[in-house]
Symmetry: C2
Subunit: 109 residues, 2 copies
Amino acid sequence: MAIAHAQPGQAVNVGPLGAELPSQKTVALFKTGQLEVIRLVLPAGKSLPPHKVVGDITIHCIEGRLDVQAADGSHEIAAGQLLYLRGGAMHGVVSLEDASALVTIVLSA
Amino acid sequence: MAIAHAQPGQAVNVGPLGAELPSQKTVALFKTGQLEVIRLVLPAGKSLPPHKVVGDITIHCIEGRLDVQAADGSHEIAAGQLLYLRGGAMHGVVSLEDASALVTIVLSA
């Protein structure tokens, strides 16, 4: 990762990447013993295969559109929308258009 | 709370409130055993007095500007910026201009 993890109290820019999105990669913004926050960058048509994590997660779409595929069906989120999933829930993510999202994961479940 | 808590997988609008901000109140978007996400609405000049929570938190400024006052000093965040604080850290929040923010709190520390 080229970006150093943020420290407590440090302001981190998490706004839309815009024209820079295609050249950006997914990065972990910080990780504590309890919490990890990732900026997911997913160009149109790319996907994350189904997976799960132990703790609850939120996915906050910052730009573009994402389809979050969970056991109970498909959930589309666009820029300015957030959803959460319970820990242990299998989910995949498909990018419907160039997208970035903040993914917040509870680690201390 | 007039707004029902979101269910897993349900898209929730968390974008800027804009002209509606002055008429909106802070609401809990959802709460699980592990995680709570609140939309904080803080008109200019309003503040949250110093307090602390057990778990780690993130504060993501959606619109306006906030001054987060922690033990190590004052941290300003504007729309599109996020910071985190460790569980147990005393902090107050002052709104520098009409602001809304997503506050994510780990409950299972």
